[in-house]
Symmetry: C2
Subunit: 659 residues, 2 copies
C-alpha cells in the first residue's frame, strides 16, 4: 500500500495489532472502527499496512525514524552521547548520540519502548465522545479515553505483539541458525541488533561456555577411555583441580567478555528497565514520592529516611529469602529424600517406574506453586527495577530446582557412597537432558503452533460448512500470530524464555562440575549437547516463536552468581567424593591423605575468591578505548561544556531565588 | 612584608624553600641569588615572605587563587563539575566546578600539585645566561635551564617542603588532637581539607574500627571475667562466630562509609596520581607511546597489542609476587621457625633474652632488605599509577610482616598445642605493641627533632665561639624545617608514614582475630590501644612532624584486602584452635564435634563471601543523592550540552577531513 522509503532504506513492520475478521462491513467510514484505528495510527506517525487473514485481520505498523524520534523525546529516553554521558534524546541533536553497530539511531529495545508509547497515546482529544462501530457492535469512545485500552477491554483488539523483520530474520537464519559448521561462533552483533542485548548476551555466554567446555571434555574422555591403572588415583585429583580452576577462570573471563561486548554496544548506563507494556501488574518501582520529597527538602533527614527505606527493603528481601529457604528445607527436602530412599529400597522395576511417574507429576506441581509464591513475595520487595525483580525470582526458583535436581544425587553419592548408582543416575540425567529436553523444547512450541493452525482451520470449515481444502495461511503475520511466544515455564510476570534456557545451562554446569570426580566424561556429553543447543535455540527463536519482547539488561544477571555458587559447592562436594573414594573402609580417620584433601579444598577456595582480584573484570583495552573516545569528545568541547554548565547553574540559582 | 588579602581571607603560606644563611652579603641586587629567586617567585604569582633563621634562610610562599587557577589550567587538572563529569579546569568557568567542603576551589592535593608546577616552571627565558652570586659562589643560569633544579643540584636550595598552616593547625589541635573526651569522633572534613583524602580516610577508618571494636571487647572481657564453668565450651564457639560475623560486617560497612565520605568530597574520579615532585625516580606510568599510537590508528590490531601489554604486565606482577612468596617461604620461614623452636627448647631466661635480641636485630635487617627488593621489583611492573604501585608494595611487604608476626604464634598454637604459651605470647605482643610502639612512634620523631635542634645550636656556637645561650628558635618555619617528615619505615619511594600506621592496625587486627578463641580479652586491649592511637597519631601529625605531602587516593587501598584476607585466615585458624581445644587427647578422629566445626567453617566462609552481595558497597542514599544532583544539573542544560557535543563532533569531523 503506502510502503514509504525513508533514508533510502525499506521500513520494516515491527508491530502487529490483531482484530477479528468482520462479518458485516460498515458503510460509514467515519464510524468504522478499523478505519478509525488505521487513521489514528497514521496520525501518530506510523506507516500502516492492513492484512486480512483467515480468521483475523491484522494491522501492521512501522515507524519511520522521525516518529520514533518524537516518541523518544516524549519518553525522555536517555541515550549515550559521544562524551560518554547519558543525556535525554533530542531530535535536532542526533549527531551527539552514539550510533548502533548497524548504523541506526535507536536500538530494538528503544524502538520497542517508542512503539508502546505511541500505541498508548492515542486518546480521544476531540470535543465529544465518538461512536465506533465494529461488526454490529457500538463502542463509545469517551473524551480523554485511551483507544487501544478501550478496545482491548472490549476484546476487539485481540493482541498487540512485535513482528519479525522478514529480511533480517532470513539473513540471521542463514548466517546463524543453519550455519551448523561454525560450531560455536555466532554473529553476536546482528543478534543484538535484532533481539536486543539480553538475548545476545545469552548466546555469547552459551558460545563461550561451549568453547571452553571442549578442553575439560577432552581431558575427561581421555581419563575414561585410557586405562591408567593405579595412576588413576593421582589423575583424578589432578582432574578435579584442573576442572575447578577451569570453572573459576571461565567465570572471570566471561565477565571480561561481557564488558568487551558492552563496549561495542551503546547501552545507556541507566538501564531503562520496565518495558511497561508487557507487565501491567507490577507497581511503580521508584521509591515512593514522599521519600523523594524528603530527600529534596532536607539533606540530613533525607539521608536517614533513605537509609531506613533501604534497610527495610533489605529486611523484606531477607525475610522472603528465609521463607523460601525454610520451606524448601522443610517441605521439599523430605519429599525428595523420601523419593530417593524409596528408589534405593524398591527392587521391582515396575514399581520404580510408577514411583518416578508419581514423582515427576508431583515435582512439576511443586515447582509451579514455588514459582507463584516467589512472584507473590517479590511483589512486596522494593527492587530497583524489573531486572532486579527478575534476578530475585531467579535466585528463589533456582533453590527449588537445585534441590529437585541434585538432592537425589547427593543422597546416592554422599550418604550411601554408592558410586555405581551415582554414575548411572548421572548418565541417565545427562542423556535425558540432552535428548529429551532439546526435543521437548523445540517440538512442544511447534506442536502448539500446529494445533492452533489446525483449530483455526477447523473452525472456519465448520462456519462455512464447506469441506474443501482451501484454507491456506498465506500471510506471514497471521502465521506469526499463531506462533507461541518466548515465555518462561514459571510464569510470564518477570521472566521470559531465557529463564528456561539459562536454567538448563546452570543445572548442567552443576551436574558436571559437582560430581566431576565421580564421572569425568560428563563434560564431553555436555559439550556435544551445547553445540547442538546453540543452533536449536537459534532455530527456535527464529522459526518457531514470535519475536520476543526485548529486555534492557545487558548482563547474565543472577545466573553468573549461581554459576559461582555452584563452583564453590563443587569444591566441597568433590573433596568429599575424593575423601570417600580414598577411604573405602569407612574408618572416618584423618590420615595424611584426608588432611591433604582438606588443605587442597582450602587452597582452591582461596583461589576461587582471590582470582577475581588478580584478573580485573574489564579488559585494559576496553578501558583505554572508552577513556580515549570520551576524553577526545570531552576535550573537544570542554570549554563550551563548562560555559553551559556554569550558565545553567546561574539560571538555576536565580530560579531558586525567585521561588 | 606584602601579606596580601584576597577574597577577604588571609593567605596562608603553604610552601617553604630553604637556603643556607649567608655570610657575605651581595651588593649587586641583580645578581644576588636570593633576591633573584624571590623576584622570580613573585613573577610567577607567589606571595613571598623571607625569614632569616639561626642556621638557614627561608622563603615562605603563598599562592592566591588566581595563581593557582593559572597553574591548574596549565597542568590541565581535571575537576568534578556540577553535572558529575570531570572536565579540565578553566579560570573563567569556576562556577561549573564543585566546591570543596570548606568553600575553596582547590583541595590541598590540587594546591600542592599547582605549587610544584609553579616552582618548577621558573626557567631562564632571557636571551643570555645569567650569573647569580651566592655567598661568594657564582652560578651560571643557562638559557632554558630550570632555576630550582639548578640550585638544588648546586646544593644551594637545601629543601622545598610544604608548610603547616598555623591557624588551621591550631584549630585542629584543639578540636581533634587534644579533644580526648570524644573517644572516637573526629572532625573528618577538616582533616580532609588540611591533609588531603588519604590521611582523612585513615583516621575515619581508625575511628570506625575503634568504635566497632567496643562490642567484641565487652563480650571478650565478659568471657574472661565471669566464670561460666562448663558453659564456657559452648560460649567459646559462640564468641568465635560472633567475632567473625562482626569482622565481615565491619569490612562491608567500612566500604559503605568510605563511599559516603567520598560523596561528601569532590574528588576527581580519574585520581590524579603522581604528585611528581616527591618521586623523581619513577618512570612514566602511562602505557608506552607506541602503544597509544597503535590504539589510535587501528581498532582490531590496537586491541590485540593492548591485550598483550596487559597480560605481559600481569605476568610480570605474578612473577614478582611469586619471587616474594617463594623467598619468604624458603628464607624467612625456616629462620622464624628456628627461632620459635629454640625459644621453646631453651630453658635459661638469659639465653632466651639474648636469642630474642639477636632475632630482633636480624629481623629488622631482613625486613629492610625485603622492602628494598620489593621496591626494585615493582619498578619493573607496569602499574597504572603510583597508588597502584604503593598497593603492590604493601601486599609484598605485608607478606614479610605476616610471617614475622604470626609464624611464631602459629608454631605455639597449632603444632605444639601449647595454649598457655600462646596466651603468654599474645599478651606480651599486645602489651608491647600498645605501650612500646605508641611510645616509640611518638618519641622517636621528637627525639630526632630535638637532636637536630641541638646540633644546629651546637654548630652555631662553635662557629661563633661564644658560650651564651642566645640561640632560640624564634621562627616557626625553621622549627618545621628541623622536624622529621612523615615517612615510612620501609623507604620513602612509594609510601609515606601511613604505611606504618596501617601496618600496626592490620597486625593488631590479625592478632586479635586469628587467635580469638585462645584469648578473648585481646579485643579489650586493642580497643584501649586504638582510642589512644587516634589522639597520639593526630598529635604526631600536627605537632611533631612536618606537614605531609598529600596523596590523591581516597580509599584504604590494599589494606582492606589484607583485612579481608585476615578474616578468611582467622576462620580457618579459629576452627583449628576449637578442634584442638575439644580434642584434648589428640586422637585425630572425626567425631560429631569435629564434623560440626568443619561445617561451621564452611558456613562462615560462605557468609564471608556472600555478605558482600547482600549489602551493597554504596548506600542507597549516596546513590540517590548523586543521581539527583547530577541529573538536575544535566537536565538543566541538556539541550545546550547536546548542541555543544554535536557541534564539537562536526568540527572534529571536518578537522579530520582537512588532515
Amino acid at each position: 500500500m503506502n510502503e514509504t522509503v525513508s533514508n533510502g532504506e525499506e521500513l520494516a513492520f515491527e508491530f502487529g495489532v490483531v482484530i477479528p475478521r468482520r462479518v458485516v462491513q460498515e458503510k460509514d467510514a467515519f464510524s468504522d472502527m478499523a478505519l478509525v484505528l488505521v487513521k489514528e495510527f497514521e496520525k501518530v506517525g506510523f506507516v500502516v499496512e492492513r492484512v486480512v487473514g483467515i480468521a483475523d485481520e491484522f494491522i501492521k505498523l512501522a515507524a519511520p525514524v522521525e516518529t520514533l524520534g518524537r516518541a523518544a523525546v516524549e519518553l525522555q529516553i536517555k541515550k549515550q552521547t559521544l562524551i560518554g554521558m547519558d543525556l535525554q534524546f533530542e531530535v535536532e541533536e542526533v549527531e551527539a548520540f552514539v550510533k548502533q553497530p548497524d548504523g541506526s539511531v535507536f536500538s530494538w529495545c528503544e524502538r520497542f519502548q517508542c512503539y508502546c508509547h505511541l500505541l498508548h497515546k492515542i486518546v480521544n482529544n476531540g470535543k465529544s465522545s465518538k461512536i465506533l462501530k465494529f461488526d454490529g457492535k457500538e463502542i463509545h469512545w469517551e473524551i480523554g479515553e485511551n483507544l487501544l485500552q478501550k478496545l482491548e477491554s472490549e476484546n476487539i483488539v485481540k493482541q498487540v505483539f512485535p513482528l519479525h523483520d522478514e529480511k533480517k530474520r532470513k539473513k540471521l537464519l542463514r548466517s546463524w541458525a543453519l550455519d551448523w559448521w561454525d560450531f560455536t561462533s555466532q554473529p553476536i552483533d546482528e543478534i543484538y541488533s535484532y533481539y536486543g542485548a539480553k538475548i545476545a548476551i545469552y548466546f555469547a555466554f552459551l558460545g563461550m561456555y561451549t568453547r571452553w567446555l571442549l578442553f575439560p571434555a577432552a581431558f575427561g574422555l581421555m581419563l575414561q577411555i585410557i586405562d591408567f591403572g593405579s595412576l588413576k588415583l593421582v589423575l583424578l585429583p589432578a582432574f578435579f583441580v584442573m576442572v575447578i580452576l577451569w570453572a573459576i577462570m571461565f567465570c572471570q573471563f566471561w565477565k571480561r567478555k561481557n564488558s568487551a561486548l558492552l563496549a561495542r554496544w551503546p547501552i545507556s548506563s541507566i538501564i531503562a528497565a520496565d518495558p511497561g507494556y508487557k507487565i501491567p501488574g507490577t507497581r511503580s518501582l521508584q521509591p515512593p514520592m514522599e521519600l523523594m520529597k524528603v530527600t529534596e527538602s532536607d539533606g540530613a533527614k533525607g539521608k536517614e529516611v533513605y537509609q531506613r527505606y533501604e534497610w527495610f527493603g533489605r529486611l523484606l528481601r531477607f525475610r522472603n529469602d528465609a521463607i523460601i529457604i525454610f520451606s524448601i528445607i522443610c517441605l521439599q527436602l523430605p519429599f525428595e529424600l523420601a523419593y530417593a530412599h524409596l528408589y534405593e529400597v524398591i527392587d521391582s522395576d515396575i514399581m520404580k517406574f510408577g514411583l518416578t511417574a508419581v514423582y515427576l507429576f508431583a515435582i512439576q506441581y511443586i515447582t509451579q506453586i514455588g514459582g507463584k509464591v516467589s512472584v507473590k513475595l517479590i511483589m512486596y520487595e522494593n527492587n530497583e527495577n524489573t531486572e532486579k525483580c527478575a534476578d530475585s525470582l531467579v535466585y528463589k526458583v533456582f533453590g527449588l530446582y537445585f534441590m529437585q535436581t541434585y538432592i537425589g544425587i547427593f543422597y546416592h553419592a554422599l550418604l550411601h557412597r554408592n558410586f555405581s548408582t551415582l554414575r548411572k543416575v548421572l548418565i541417565q540425567r545427562l542423556l535425558l537432558s540432552e535428548v529429551l529436553e532439546n526435543l521437548l523444547e523445540n517440538s512442544l512450541p511447534y506442536l502448539k503452533y500446529s494445533y492452533k493452525k489446525y483449530r483455526v482451520r477447523h473452525k472456519k470449515k465448520n462456519e462455512k460448512g464447506e469441506a474443501t481444502e482451501s484454507f491456506q495461511f498465506t500471510s506471514r503475520v497471521e502465521k506469526e500470530y499463531l506462533k507461541p511466544s518466548y515465555s518462561a515455564s514459571i510464569g510470564e510476570e518477570l521472566e521470559d524464555g531465557l529463564f528456561d534456557d539459562f536454567l538448563e545451562l546452570a543445572l548442567q554446569f552443576g551436574m558436571i562440575l559437582m560430581f566431576a570426580c565421580a564421572f569425568p566424561p560428563a563434560f564431553a556429553f555436555a559439550a556435544v549437547n551445547n553445540i547442538m543447543e546453540i543452533r536449536t535455540d537459534a532455530l527456535k527463536l527464529l522459526a518457531i516463536l514470535r519475536r520476543p519482547v526485548p529486555r534492557a539488561a545487558a548482563t547474565v544477571g543472577a545466573w553468573l552468581n549461581i554459576f559461582q555458587f555452584l563452583i564453590v559447592m563443587s569444591i566441597c562436594t568433590n573433596c568429599a567424593l575424593l575423601a570417600w573414594l580414598y577411604d573405602e573402609d569407612g574408618k572416618w580417620k584423618i590420615e595424611p591423605g584426608l588432611a591433604a584433601i582438606l588443605i587442597m579444598e582450602h587452597v582452591l577456595l582461596l583461589i576461587k575468591f582471590g582470582f577475581s582480584r588478580l584478573v580485573p573484570e574489564e579488559p585494559a583495552w576496553v578501558k583505554a578505548n572508552r577513556a580515549k573516545h570520551t576524553t577526545q569528545a570531552q576535550d573537544m568541547c570542554s570549554k563550551k561544556l563548562l560555559r553551559t554548565i556554569s550558565l545553567g547553574d546561574k539560571t538555576y540559582g536565580e530560579e531558586k531565588k525567585l521561588e
